[in-house]
Assembly symmetry: C2
Homo-oligomer: 353 residues x 2
């Protein structure tokens, strides 16, 4: 059973994913035992173990042999073995008294970033990271051909404290039958601002942050790294393209190569400064389906008013009762302080190289 249920009091959807419905005893084993349980004798993401994952969806190889399930790959995309949502499920919506349910049609995929078990994403060369970013783009494009799907969220959990269950470096994507609330909020803000001013609010932010300087971590030709003015987490950063573009999947290989360089710089700096911290990143991009007239979530114009970006959050603080019950985050490191440390770290990285 996989379904999205609407919470009528808190006004939000929750994914109930009970394929292997978890009993109390599944939660009460110690962390060490769980780590052991979850770490198979041989890692399913290593080269030579291709048969241990569900069949390959996409791969980048020296020779382009897609779907072969053989070795020789650089980046490999497979379905998640324990998917939160599944592409085979029918998408239908129904009511149950006060309640509303959408069945769990979607997708949950794993992007294995390298066959090398010992490396993290930050350790890969920029060309390799570019291939990972290309895999993101190709999967988004492909999944948006499925008209049941309204969004594809690319995300990464690095280390168990950030939610990773396998240590071999990988990212994930979950495609959902509705636009996720956090993304929808950002889309609405960009839309409203555009309507009021015929300008993009994130473009405005770029101008302002460059002028204010204090939260800018790095300025590349095409990208900017900053710590957001209202960072929810210490050392949170955003990578923002300097040129307005709503849709990540429209980036060409050259754009992605430039992004790879900046992403590597960002991750390496966080790794050195904070002793390889657990972190998450997400890509927020426009849902392409909004472009289609007649689509239920097509509002009234083509969604060019959004400005795609990456959000990277080291997980150094705990989301506790107050954050949960209030919805306010408490950040003990002002973003101006975080930006200063990160700028210094980037300076050191450049001196070394």
């Amino acid at each position: 059973m996989r379904e999205l249920r609407f919470d009528p009091i808190r006004n939000r959807w929750v994914i109930i994913s009970a394929e292997r419905s978890r009993r109390p005893s599944d939660y009460t084993i110690g962390d060490e035992d769980r780590e052991k349980e979850k770490t198979p004798v041989s890692c399913p993401f290593c080269e030579g173990s291709e048969e241990k994952t569900p069949p390959e969806i996409f791969a980048i190889r020296k020779e382009r042999v897609v779907g072969s399930n053989l070795g020789g790959w650089r980046v490999r995309v497979v379905p998640n073995k324990y998917p939160a949502l599944q592409i085979e499920d029918a998408a239908f919506r129904y009511g149950m008294g006060i309640f509303d349910v959408v069945s769990g049609a979607g997708a949950h995929e794993v992007i294995v970033e390298t066959p090398d078990h010992g490396k993290g994403l930050a350790d890969l060369e920029a060309d390799w990271i570019k291939d990972v970013l290309v895999a993101f783009r190709e999967r988004i494009k492909d999944l948006f051909c499925d008209r049941r799907l309204r969004y594809v969220l690319i995300f990464k959990n690095h280390k168990s404290k950030a939610g990773a269950s396998l240590m071999h470096t990988h990212s994930q994507l979950i495609a959902t039958p509705m636009v996720p609330p956090v993304v929808k909020q950002e889309l609405i803000i960009c839309r409203e601002n555009y309507r009021a001013k015929e300008r993009c609010i994130i473009c405005d932010l770029i101008t302002q942050e460059i002028e204010f300087k204090e939260r800018v971590v790095y300025e590349a030709d095409n990208y900017l790294i900053w710590t957001p003015f209202a960072s929810s987490f210490p050392f949170e950063t955003w990578i923002v393209p300097r040129n307005h573009l709503h849709d990540y999947s429209m980036l060409n290989d050259k754009d992605l190569r430039d992004l790879a360089v900046v992403l590597k710089l960002n991750l390496i700096s966080l790794k050195r400064l904070l002793n390889d911290p657990p972190y998450n990143f997400v890509i927020h991009t426009s849902p392409p389906k909004f472009d289609r007239p007649g689509h239920p979530e097509h509002w009234d114009s083509i969604e060019f008013d959004f400005h795609w970006h990456m959000e990277i959050v080291p997980r150094l603080t705990t989301i506790a009762g107050f954050e949960w019950g209030a919805g306010f985050f408490i950040n003990p490191t002002p973003p101006e302080v975080a930006a200063r440390y990160l700028r210094e770290e980037i300076g050191r990285n450049f001196e070394e190289s």
Copy 2:
């Protein structure tokens, strides 16, 4: 420096609380070292260590000697030594380019639930838990006399995974110069429903859940325990008063004694079923200040349409990149399954007693 900053893209406030502005090295010490660092040689919450906390704000003693900072107390409320917000700060609002800031006037207090270092809240007798609930009520009432404050959130972090930094059992409250977004959302939903139907949506839910049965964990005379239809976390429960009331602080001692019995039953069952799991709870209640005409957040009627309740969430899963970036939670244990286990556990508790 303590202030609330508005995130113009994500449309939410974040508390930047940099009283002891945390540098990278503050985050990179190992968990064990941190635990040691945070556990003082003698616990400041134990009886006889009253001078180790800031001066007492409220206490329940055998003889009612309030503010004495001596021993002999049952429940004791003190300011948090490292407050996220502070009552001494001025409350003013200003803009900074695109950005908006509110200075951090508020309060952050600790409710020490017992002088006994070895006991958890679940282990206390119902009469003692009642005193804790009375302390909550008295602090809410008192703080709402400060017109700068718009809300008081009562919450508890049990164990370090749920955000606790001291092991001696305690709850906390944070008073904020604006209504927290999660609470505001619930207030708006209740309001809209009331306007459309002249009925409370939570009262409707009570009727429906009693009829559906499958998510009801326990029915007391005055309170109901259920697992929410769209539970964000496995084994999440709500304690809901069966009679409509918007404001927790209006409860009398008898009401709180009844609540204490139900809360104890809930906590003991979670403890036994899930091996003393980390958990958070929060109380959601109406912000009394809304009652005042002329108040900036006074909408257009007295806020009797809310229905106060407690939300209790065991922290058995990780809030990872998807939850953060999408705003969707993934719950692997359907609430119907959780309710069944909890009912069985409560049955066992009654057989024993």
